[in-house]
Amino acid sequence: MVADSGMVSVSAHGERSRSFRRRGPRALQGWTSGDALFRKVCTAFGLAIVALLALLLYELARGSSLSLSRFGFGFAFEKVWDPVAEKFGAATFIYGTMVTSVIALLVAVPLGVGIAIFLVEMAPPAVGNIIGFLVELLAAIPSIVYGLWGLFVLAPLVRDHVAPFLHATLGFLPFFSGESHGVGMLTAGLVLSIMVLPFIAAVSRDVLAAVPQPLREGSLALGATKWETIWGVVLPYGRTGIGGSVILALGRALGETMAVTMVIGNTPQIVLSLFEPGYTMSSVIANEYSEASGPLYLSSLTELGLLLFIATFAVNGTARALIWRMAHGPGGRA
């Protein structure tokens, strides 16, 4: 023992020097810590997300199999939604979802990008922080609050002022024909625009803040104005990321339920006038799921959910890919 330990530095500990003899100088093998277990547990948590999504997709597909086999692809193009006659088509809801989302983006994109430009390029840091915080706060307001506000404040405003004004100035367009009763696709789109605004503003702000300062200085030093610099250099550099923020907002607008349900009027119809009430995919699920009688009715609602799931998944995936490309990809000049 003692003779052996002479060749290693820690000679006093008999036990250890014996293990040295067995495994060479100092242990390199074996379970020295819980890292391996920790790693396995965390990997399992990570994979659980994938499993959860797969399960969700599977359950939606299984739940809508009856409707899928009965209506096939025609489900998305059929306008009739008649639970009594057991005829179900999603076209009116898809239309309502698309129209409200487009209105939301038309309003929120210029506003959100404008806010981002102000926060990054113009506002003094203190003001920028406060306004940036307020914008993010918009995202934290529960959607039922937006719904109530939309119903009691925005809807009368649209009925009495916004709609008459649009009708008077742009009434030759079919979108602004007729009369508004307050609730309708326009009101729903406007509520949505405020709800998605923080996504566009916050992500665009981060994107613009990531535009390298030398690019701005390079442009300003040439005698370019602030406007030319923002329009000609900063926005082109950030366009991919801003595009990502817009699509992220679209994903949010497509799926928003509560606030829209409260202000859209819940009437399944396809009309051009935005003053008219409509119905969205998420709203009809929320309204009718609890009273859906009969397996086909339930299955049709589930299929709506499946369509919504696939649409938002695709939209969000695209958005993330764009934002990621902005930061890392070949165009990403990090």
Partner: protein
């Protein structure tokens, strides 16, 4: 009529007097007039008077008075953080873009102050262009990089944009290397080419003065040599102020050299004189590599 064209005969007179200037300046070195061109000589292209620049509580440049002679290269040397870049940035109001920067004193361009609130810094920068240490091509094609400034300089929809782009790229001695790949991204060029692209971009505005802030410090020796050649070519028609860390570079390409330390202008004079017989002890120490 270009204002510089009027002053060019006098500028050449100044060149002839340049050798004598070191002597004249040393007599008046006690006051700030020592930093000015000799009295009765040509009026300088630019002139800084008692310029002080603060970034919040930090004083970056202290009471600097310095003349920039027309159609010459003025090199500014000094250890890192000595204020030479800050000084350079005040020559075209770029310090305006730094939050918290306060500039006092005055800078004149052709005898006219550029510092007042009534002066539009955008117009100043069209006449006094700038190239930075790190080349930063815009995320567009090589052509668009230059075309952008052509449009900035003049008006949109100009028909001879392509001609002007070519002219600027030729001036920057980049045309032959990029003429077949104008549609490629500006960032696909090598570091030295990117810097020349940025110079072309600056030249497309047709400035009267070009400020260069360590334009070669991120480049290899060959790319550096190309830029230096370019500067030697450009100085024939342009007033150039170049900040450099390389004293050899200052010696190679400049007519006059100013030495900054701790935010102050220690000494300025004819480059040859500065490097052989500096007036100030500090300058000698720096040039001979004892600090910095």
């Amino acid at each position: 009529m270009h204002p510089m064209e009027q002053s060019s005969p006098r500028a050449s007179t100044y060149l002839a007097e340049g050798a004598a200037h070191g002597e004249a300046a040393s007599k008046t070195s006690a006051d700030h007039a020592g930093n000015a061109l000799s009295p009765g000589g040509p009026s300088p292209k630019m002139r800084a008077r008692n310029l002080t620049v603060r970034y919040g509580p930090i004083v970056a440049v202290t009471d600097v008075s310095l003349d920039v002679p027309a159609r010459q290269v003025l090199a500014l040397i000094g250890p890192s953080g000595c204020g030479k870049s800050t000084f350079l940035r005040s020559l075209n109001r770029m310090n305006d873009t730094v939050p918290g920067a306060v500039v006092s004193g005055d800078v004149e361009l052709d005898g006219q102050s550029i510092c007042g609130t009534e002066i539009d810094p955008v117009l100043v920068r069209k006449r006094v262009g700038m190239v930075f240490q790190r080349a930063s091509p815009f995320p567009t094609s090589i052509f668009e990089n230059v075309a952008y400034t052509v449009r900035v300089a003049a008006h949109r929809g100009q028909r001879d944009v392509a001609d002007r782009v070519e002219h600027a790229l030729r001036q920057a001695e980049l045309w032959n290397e990029v003429k077949d790949r104008l549609k490629e991204s500006g960032t696909s060029l090598s570091g030295g080419q990117q810097q020349r692209l940025c110079i072309a971009r600056a030249l497309a505005v047709e400035p009267e003065v070009l400020l260069m802030d360590e334009p070669t410090s991120a480049l290899d020796p060959i790319a550096t040599a190309k830029i230096e050649e370019l500067v030697s070519e450009l100085r024939k028609g342009l007033t150039i102020v170049i900040v450099t860390h390389s004293m050899q570079q200052a010696a190679r390409i400049s007519h006059r050299t100013g030495f900054f330390n701790m935010g102050s202008l220690i000494e300025v004079g004819d480059t040859t004189t500065m490097f052989t017989r500096p007036r100030e002890h500090q300058t000698e120490d720096y040039i001979s590599g004892r600090f910095g």
